[in-house]
């Protein structure tokens, strides 16, 4: 552990300001998303809570607290020495796996929307270990695939296998919940990391085929629960089921569409205030943006994601070390596919799976994970400029 005490030259330089090294564009874009998300969470909940005699700012307050904690985590992730991060990775990974195992024990985990995904905490808080598992998988795989190799060296098949084991154990546990949305996002990250690691194209092609086949088998063999099959079916024909998943998808699309170009104005969306779309502050937060902010506002949100991701690609490319590049790649794939899955579901392009919109949706675990992911990008940006 002695290397932990070795101070890197960067650390000294960064000491002068807590924010030195932060990429201003990335930070700016994420900050705007956080502010918009806060407004949207408030817009999604204030009216309904007030109408039902509850504190209209209940969600707003919690969301702000979540962001505050998340920002501290992001800051911590940014300034921490990556070697320290590497050292902690097995612990983070192990805790993630433990958490994932814990939620599956009947009576201990909480079930929301058919997925056994939550650990209840005192004070009404919950933790979703799958969110944190994303980070441990990304960091763990990047570590294994970059550890011994030099820039020119490509990871051996053994390395790839080890990396896949690191990913497979938590993914299997998440499959048991089942939370197909998260499995999809992690799979995308895994394939992206392995592809960018320089591993043989056979591996990449094989994994892609495996993912498609796995999806088909899971659906056919009933590994995906009825609940999820229903969600998939309602994606194919949203008018088939007027009360369940199809109803939600149709309502979501109508709500977004009714916003038009300019939107109804923040806090003034009748669909949002009438709460015709369920899970409005979490999985369907984008409907609030669509209705109240119109194409102008919701298009801006999509644009912000494009800016964040393209910026992150820049960081990955500039990174001098494979480790940083792989971490960046994993985080990019995670953010990109989660965003695409969430907004795509809202707009009727993707089947319904319960994944939150990064930096915008209400939800502590997801917010913490997203901001840690953001911190990882900043960390690579600050330390591994090539």
């Amino acid at each position: 552990m002695s290397y932990l005490l070795n101070r890197s030259p960067y650390r000294k330089a960064r000491r002068s300001s807590a924010f030195a090294g932060f990429d201003p564009i990335l930070t700016g874009a994420v900050s705007i998303l956080l502010v918009l998300g806060t407004l949207l969470v408030y817009a999604a909940t204030r009216n309904w809570y007030a109408a039902n005699g509850l504190d209209p700012q209940y969600y707003l307050k919690r969301h702000v607290i979540n962001i505050a904690i998340g920002v501290m985590l992001a800051w911590g992730t940014t300034v921490i020495d990556y070697r320290l991060l590497r050292a902690y990775t097995p612990i983070v990974w192990g805790l993630g796996v433990l958490g994932l195992g814990f939620v599956l024990i009947p009576g201990l985990g909480d079930s929301v929307n058919g997925a056994q995904a939550w650990i209840p905490l005192p004070g009404g808080f919950q933790i979703q270990p799958a969110e944190l598992a994303k980070i441990s998988i990304i960091v763990g795989m990047s570590m294994i695939l970059s550890e011994r190799s030099h820039d020119s060296d490509e990871p051996t098949s053994q390395d790839v296998l080890r990396a896949l084991v690191v990913a497979a154990i938590p993914v299997l546990l998440i499959l048991l919940q089942p939370d197909m949305g998260t499995v999809f996002i992690i799979s995308a990250s895994v394939v992206a990391i392995i592809a960018v690691s320089g591993a043989s194209t056979k591996w990449v092609a094989g994994l892609l085929i495996l993912a498609v086949a796995g999806g088909i088998v899971a659906t056919k063999a009933g590994i995906i629960s009825d609940y999820q099959v229903k969600r998939l079916q309602s994606f194919v024909d949203p008018n088939a089921d007027t009360q369940g998943a199809g109803y939600q998808l149709r309502q979501a699309r109508i709500t977004v569409g009714s916003g038009g170009f300019l939107g109804t104005g923040l806090f003034d969306g009748p669909q949002t205030n009438g709460r015709f779309v369920p899970e409005q502050q979490t999985d369907f937060i984008f409907t609030v943006a669509g209705e109240e902010l119109g194409f102008l506002g919701s298009g801006l949100i999509v644009l912000l994601y494009i800016i964040i991701l393209m910026r992150a690609f820049g960081i990955a490319r500039r990174s001098s070390e494979p480790y940083g590049r792989l971490v960046c790649t994993g985080v990019i794939a995670w953010f990109a596919f989660q965003t695409f899955e969430n907004i795509g579901m809202t707009l009727g392009m993707m089947p319904m799976t319960g994944v939150p919109l990064p930096f915008v949706s209400y939800g502590g675990s997801s917010m913490f994970a997203n901001l840690i992911g953001f911190g990882l990008l900043q960390n690579v940006h600050a330390r591994h400029r090539g």
């Binding site: 009216n47 309904w48 109408a51 820039d151 020119s152 490509e154 992206a192 592809a195 960018v196 690691s197 320089g198 194209t201 990449v204 309502q251 699309r253 109508i254 709500t255 977004v256 569409g257 009714s258 916003g259 038009g260 170009f261 009748p270 669909q271 205030n273 009438g274 709460r275 015709f276 669509g290 119109g294 194409f295 919701s298 298009g299 999509v302 644009l303 994601y305 494009i306 991701l309 393209m310 690609f313 990955a316 490319r317 494979p322 590049r325 790649t329 990019i332 794939a333 990109a336 965003t339 695409f340 907004i343 795509g344 707009l347 009727g348 392009m349």
Partner: protein, 697 residues
């Protein structure tokens, strides 16, 4: 970085960028390109229309006496948006309510379910409106009960008592007029489908029969609409639009409430009289028209029903009774839907046919007890020989055999069973000039058009029934296989497409296959009375707005002319007057101070009643008065009522008594219905408080 890594990274970047730009494109499509469509969809999700029904216009008689108005009722209503929020979904409160109103809980539960909530086949009694409309359980609650509900709102949450306007038929002078007025009721799915070309709001009431449906578009006004914005739990969050209801317009009719009451009473008395002399008398109708313009002054059908029963809430049994055969089908308006052979009332038409055929109206004709037509013997009425009679006298005593002779001769002249292509068909043509077989065009729904059994009809009938009669042994039931019917079938198969001698002679005395409605007979005798004009009977006189403005008046319409020489009309007037002097209704009108004219009809009916008894004769009387310069024509019909004279002529006399103010055999000055003898032409002022003129206080 290895080349492979670099390429992978670039590939990943392009892939992700295209995913996000796809999102952007989709977003643009949904919000900008298809935005208006989704805005409409969202509006229909968020907004609900709460409908305040308009006050329906009054229906009044020609002097403004209300026949239909609105009265204030106390409605006990259930608010589904409130009881659904209760823990037991309102079970307890509905149980309390049924106890209070002395109703079955299952009934109340059923009536508060939206039709869409119930499975197919179990929708009877369901609420056709929306969840936001208060659902009425009764519209005429006892004020005491209403007070209990208002005071104990803790015991009856979601239940309220509110005064509402309900349709009421006040029955002034005990007038019923159910068939004329019709009734109002809730909308059916058919109404809502827009198939009638009108659009309605679910909670509206609309006219269901009679004038209420015929003039519904004027009477109903337009409902007030309050558009509210609701949330997913259907709680109202705001009101976005509010239009006040516009009350409906009033309908002024040509009806005179006093004459209507007298007509109904005379009809009911006729039925009673017929029954007292052993006839079945299962129904009847009476109509009074103004001979000079076709105005319908009164119109009645028997048996009848209470038009108010619909607003009180019809039980299933009551609804069934309206249409049950054993009850005489009270819903049927026999004045314009009842079809019967006209019998001897048709002889006025035969006079015109005979005149056209060249028979002298002043000559004498033999009236033997029977006439042999072909190989069949046709008997005079009651097989009585009357010697030689003038045509006038023959009409007065209703001799049949004169007509058998003439009709048979004319049939032979037209070629008999090998009809000439240019057959004269005097009898058919005379009937056609009266527009028999066509509707009178009265402004009431569901009029039947009757049947003129001429050569064309016969051919059409044959092509439809040929198969049945020519394969009678296989096609008929066991009960139909009597020697007479088998013989008849054989005849029908051979020459059923032709007018046979028997058909021709039957036609001349209003028997056989020709059938008409009472309103048609009134129209025909009106034409004889006024010198030949066929008027379209019209009930409506004008539409007057709530503020007293005349929206529309209904002109009288001539439908045609019977084109009869004035001399023939004079002869008919004289002969039909003779009926009341020395003819079949002489006994009835003996001593009547006003000279009238008319004709009895006692028409045979083939077929059997449900209990197997042979059907009784149809008792007809058509009369007009005064005999000179006639103003009113009355037709009365009692089915299975026996003799035209003793049953219907007496009823018509009773109506004349009322019109001319006759008591005993004297005209009592000042008691006649109409000043100067004419119905009022000025439009009345509309007020629900108007009372009939000359009413005893």
């Amino acid at each position: 970085m290895s080349q492979r890594s670099r390429l992978s990274l670039i590939f990943l970047q392009i892939f992700i960028a295209s995913l996000l730009f796809a999102l952007m494109g989709r977003l643009f499509y949904l919000q900008v390109a298809a935005g208006p469509k989704y805005r409409d969809a969202a509006l229909s999700i968020q907004s609900r229309d709460v409908v305040t029904p308009a006050t329906r216009g009054l229906i009044v008689d020609s002097s403004g006496v209300p026949l239909a108005l609105n009265k204030v009722g106390l409605a006990i209503t259930v608010d589904r948006t409130k009881i659904d929020k209760q823990e037991d979904k309102g079970v307890k409160v509905l149980k309390n309510l049924s106890l209070l109103l002395n109703l079955q809980y299952s009934d109340v539960w059923q009536r508060t379910r939206l039709c869409g909530e119930l499975p197919k086949g179990k929708k009877a009694g369901c609420w056709t409106g929306s969840r936001f409309q208060p659902i009425p359980i009764t519209k005429e609650a006892d004020p005491q009960i209403a007070l209990q509900i208002v005071e104990r709102s803790d015991k009856y949450p979601g239940i309220s008592a509110t005064p509402i306007a309900i349709r009421s038929y006040p029955g002034i002078l005990d007038v019923n007029a159910a068939h004329l007025l019709g009734y109002v009721g809730p909308l059916t799915d058919y109404d809502l489908s827009g198939a009638s070309g009108r659009s309605y709001f679910r909670s509206e009431s609309i006219g269901k029969a009679g004038l209420e449906i015929k003039y519904d578009s004027y009477l109903r006004g337009s409902p007030g609409i309050k558009t509210v914005i609701v949330d997913r739990k259907e709680a109202v969050t705001s009101t976005s639009q509010n239009t006040k209801p516009t009350p409906g317009n009033h309908l002024v009719t040509n009806i005179d409430v006093r004459l209507q009451a007298a007509t109904e009473k005379a009809l009911a008395d006729a039925v009673r009289r017929a029954r007292a002399s052993g006839h079945r008398a299962d129904g009847g109708a009476a109509v009074v028209l103004d001979v000079n313009n076709g105005a319908v002054l009164s119109i009645a059908s028997y048996p009848t029903f209470d038009p108010n029963s619909f607003e009180k809430g019809l039980t299933v049994q009551e609804a069934k009774d309206l249409f049950s055969e054993s009850n005489g089908v009270p819903a049927l308006n026999r004045a314009l839907q009842g079809l019967y052979a006209p019998g001897s009332t048709f002889k006025a038409v035969s006079i015109i046919a005979a005149k056209d055929a060249g028979y002298s109206l002043t000559a004498n004709y033999a009236c033997p007890a029977s006439v042999e037509v072909g190989n069949r013997v046709f008997n005079n009425f009651e097989s009585k020989a009357q010697g030689t009679l003038s045509l006038k006298k023959a009409l007065a005593v209703s001799c049949d055999t004169i007509w058998y002779r003439i009709a048979f001769d004319e049939w032979l002249r037209d070629g008999g069973l090998r009809p000439k292509s240019d057959a004269n068909d005097y009898f058919f043509k005379a009937a056609a000039r009266f527009q028999m077989g066509e509707k009178t065009g009265i402004d009431l729904p569901s009029e039947s058009k009757g049947r003129l059994a001429d050569r064309n009809w016969r051919k059409a009938w044959y092509s439809q029934n040929k198969d049945f009669y020519c394969n009678y042994a296989e096609r008929s039931t066991k009960a139909q296989q009597t020697p007479f019917l088998i013989l008849l079938a054989k005849e029908n198969c051979v020459d059923g497409d032709k007018i046979r001698a028997g058909d021709a002679v039957n036609f001349s005395i209003g028997q056989g296959d020709t059938i008409i409605t009472p309103i048609k007979l009134a129209q025909m005798y009106g034409a004889i009375a006024n010198g030949g004009t066929i008027w379209q009977p019209v009930v409506a006189k004008a539409i007057i707005s709530n503020s007293g403005k005349v929206i529309k008046t209904y002109p009288y319409r001539e439908l045609g002319n019977i084109d009869v020489a004035p001399a023939t009309i004079d002869f008919l007037h004289d002969a039909l007057h003779e009926v009341t002097i020395s003819g079949t209704s002489a006994g009835v009108f003996a001593g009547f101070p006003i000279a009238t004219a008319g004709k009895t009809g006692t028409a045979q009916v083939f077929g059997k009643n449900a209990n197997g008894s042979a059907k009784d004769d149809t008792a007809w009387y058509a009369g007009f008065a005064p005999a000179k310069n006639p103003k009113f024509v009355v037709a009365m019909m009692v089915s299975q009522g026996g003799f035209g004279a003793s049953t219907s002529a007496v009823g018509v006399k009773q109506i004349f008594q009322s019109i001319f103010g006759v008591t005993g055999n004297k005209v009592i000055p000042g008691t006649a219905l109409f000043k100067n003898g004419n119905p009022p032409w000025k439009l009345p002022k509309i007020s629900p408080a108007t009372r009939p003129a000359g009413e005893k206080k």
